[in-house]
Structure formats: C-alpha cells, structure tokens
Point group: none
Chain length 227, copies 2
Amino acid sequence: MSAHIFVVEDEKPILTLLTYNLQKEGYKVSSSLNGEEALSRIKEKKPDLVLLDWMLPDLSGIKICQYLKQDEKVKNIPIIMLTAKGEEEDKVKGLNTGAEDYMTKPFSFPELLARIKSLLKRVKPNIVSEEATYLDLKIDRESMKVFRKEKEITLGPKEYKLLDFLIKQPKRVYSREQLLEHVWGDDINVESRTVDVHITRLRQSINIEGAKPLIRTVRSAGYSLEN
Amino acid sequence: MSAHIFVVEDEKPILTLLTYNLQKEGYKVSSSLNGEEALSRIKEKKPDLVLLDWMLPDLSGIKICQYLKQDEKVKNIPIIMLTAKGEEEDKVKGLNTGAEDYMTKPFSFPELLARIKSLLKRVKPNIVSEEATYLDLKIDRESMKVFRKEKEITLGPKEYKLLDFLIKQPKRVYSREQLLEHVWGDDINVESRTVDVHITRLRQSINIEGAKPLIRTVRSAGYSLEN
DNA sequence: TAAATATTTAACAAATCTGTAACATTACTC
DNA sequence: GAGTAATGTTACAGATTTGTTAAATATTTA
C-alpha cells in the first residue's frame, strides 16, 4: 500500500519535478497550485504527508500549516515545508507552526526523499491503534485504562498522556523539550524539570512488585520507555 | 578556517576565471580539467563544495554527480552544476542526480558566489541515519545506545557525542580544535588537552576483550575512528 | 464554594560527569 | 641514545544532572 503525498506548490516546474519524481518512487501524488484549494482538498483527501511551499500566491504556506494543525482530523498529517529563504528565523517559524520538517530550495531530491521516508516511517505508529503494549504494559486507549501484568493501574491525566506518547515508540529517547512539546502541547511555559517530576510519578505508578522499571533515563538527553 | 572548493571544468579560460575569483574571495581552490581525475581527487580531498561543469570531455558532469552522491563518504558535499543549457529538463535531471544547485552559463560571478555562500552556510545537517556502524561498533541514535560486537556499551554524554561525531566519517582525522568545535560546541573555553582525556575514556569504554582499539592517534594532528 | 485532584515549582540530596593538573609513557629529532 | 615534544593516564575538586519530596498554585469536581 503506497503512501499518498499531497504537494502544494505554485511554481509549475517545481511541481512537475516533484510529482514526476515522487510518482516514480511509487507514491500516489495529489497537488494544488494555491493555498485555498489545497486546504480543502487536504481535509477531504487526508493524505499521509504534505509537501508545502512557503510562498504561495494567496494563503501563505505558514497559514495553511497553522490551519491544518488546528484541525483535529488532519493535525497528525506530517508536513514538510519548502522554503526558498534560508534564514534561521524562518526555519524556526516553520517549525513553530507545527511543520515536522523543512527543506530549503533548491534542494536535492534524494535528500527530500530521505526525509519523506523518515517521516512516513515515524508517522506509522501515529495511526494509533486502540491498544498499545510494551512488554507487560498495556494501554487501552478506548477505555483509557492501563494495565501492568493484567493488573489495572491508575494514572493521573498527565501520567497517562506521557505514557501514551512514550509507548508509541518504545526505546526511542525523547528530550524533555520534545516531551513538553508533544505531551504538554500548547503552553510550553513550563520548566523542563517538570517533566522529571512526572516521570518520577509515572515510574511509581507503573511500578509493580517484581517487574522491571520500564522507564530509562539517558543522562543529558532525556527519557525512553524501555526496561 | 576558509572553505575548500573543488572546480571541475574543462574550458580553461572559465576555470582560470573561477579559480582566480574564488581565491580572491578567500577560498581554497582545487580543480580538475576532466571527469575521471575529478572523481578520484574529490574523494581524496573531500572539499566542502564542488562546482561541476555539465559538459566534460570524458565523463559527463551528471555522471560524476551521480557517482559522488552514491559514495557514503562524499555524498554530503554540496554540488553546484554549471550548465550551458537552460532547459527545464536539464534542471530536472540536475536535481535528480542529487546536485544541490545549478547555474546556467553565462552566469554572473556575484550570483554564483551568493549561492556558494548559501550552500556553505547551510550547515550540513547531514542526513544522519538512525544507525551508524563501523566494523563491530554500532550506534543507534534513536535509542542512543552503543554496541560493540552486539554487546551494549554504556557511554557518558561526552563520550557518546564524541563517538557519534567520529563515526560520521570513519578514518577521517580530526584535530583537537575541530573536535572541540563540533562535539563541545559553543563553550570552547576548554583546554585542548581535555580532548585527550575524553578520548582515553572513550577508548576504555569501547574497549572489549579481544577487539581492536578503534581509535587512532595521529601524532601532532589529532584522532580518527579507525582500527 | 469547598473539597478533592492535579500540576508546577523549589529545594536538597545523590549520582554522575567534566576539566585540569600532575605524572607516566611513548614517539620523534638530532 | 639523550633530549624534547606529544600523548596516555589517573585522581580529584567542582560542576551538572537527576531523583525525590514537599509545599504552593491551579484546576476540576461535587
């Protein structure tokens, strides 16, 4: 099953280039030359990934990005911003709006491809299944219950969110900043040490007699779900 | 520390012009008049950027580009293609082969310069793969784990960073200053001898019974990851 | 609104890491 | 082979990071 990529780009040659190459790679490609149209068609088609040009005739790419990231139904679709500007500032803005990655034009197609693959791979576990397990830890997202060794465990809201996030990619190390961004979300006016406290509590909560700790600390890096 | 640019161009007048102007800008310039030679010398010299003529007597520029982009060791060096043709099609091909940029002759030197600067500035956000290996040493950047002969090894933060950096280009020798710059980063208010100490620690950490040392000292030059 | 729950911050102890200096060892030069 | 420069190694004081607790705020629930 090939992934579906939506390209928003107003410069035809570039759009042609992208479409041609992406299709050659086996992706299903849809595209739009302007922002307004793109917005509605993305919501309708729900592609697996969006390539979004920064500069568009009507709505700017950044606006589209913001709108998409506000919409519950499509907010999980990863976005790669394509920008002609190379300034650091812009890159930051691009990421702030919620884009998962950005590339500066002119870019090499192989590199773009690499990033696309990487994002699609990463997103896969985002197709959140109702149940996620890691070793003897189980989380049922429908009932929002958590089990350790068949025994139900009670978690506070943040603890639950934190675990819910960590379990999507066990063993992957997340920095405190990443956790704040993904688990806390919008109001990141929170000390990064706060994460530590919640990790401690989560640890205490999922800890059971005769079971492994399950949360690993990677000094000066962050945490991961792992025994 | 000025950047090193490699020019591949068979028309002598143009080559002379480019060399002269680039040197005047403070760049270190190497060059080659034909493709075969260029290929081997680029791999040997590892310049920071390559200016590559499209039309060459033997190997075409596009071939060179493809070869370079296939080679792990030099694939990250940005390439600017110089082409006399201006057709869209060529541009597409140029990008397909992995060139980061292209310019159509005749071009203005200031513009070329601007693009060179832009590319050089774009701090090679090397497409770091999740896993890197050198011989029996493996580093998994996702879980931030290091293995030697399948056995997990625990490294301190600096040791990890150091190895992470060294393994990007095995066998390449880095001076203590380069290591400080890339591994320590901003606060380079550190004695260069400090590097020695961390190298020692890293050596001890990755050392395993009956395995090769893996870190080479190059007297009065620096260190490299190599057996 | 009061009570119950959650969250954040601050504070301090414990664990671990880091840089430096001192001394040991190894290469290199003549 | 002596002398010199470069590198290896070690120990330790100081710095950083993390775990944990408790108290202060904020939020939700009844």
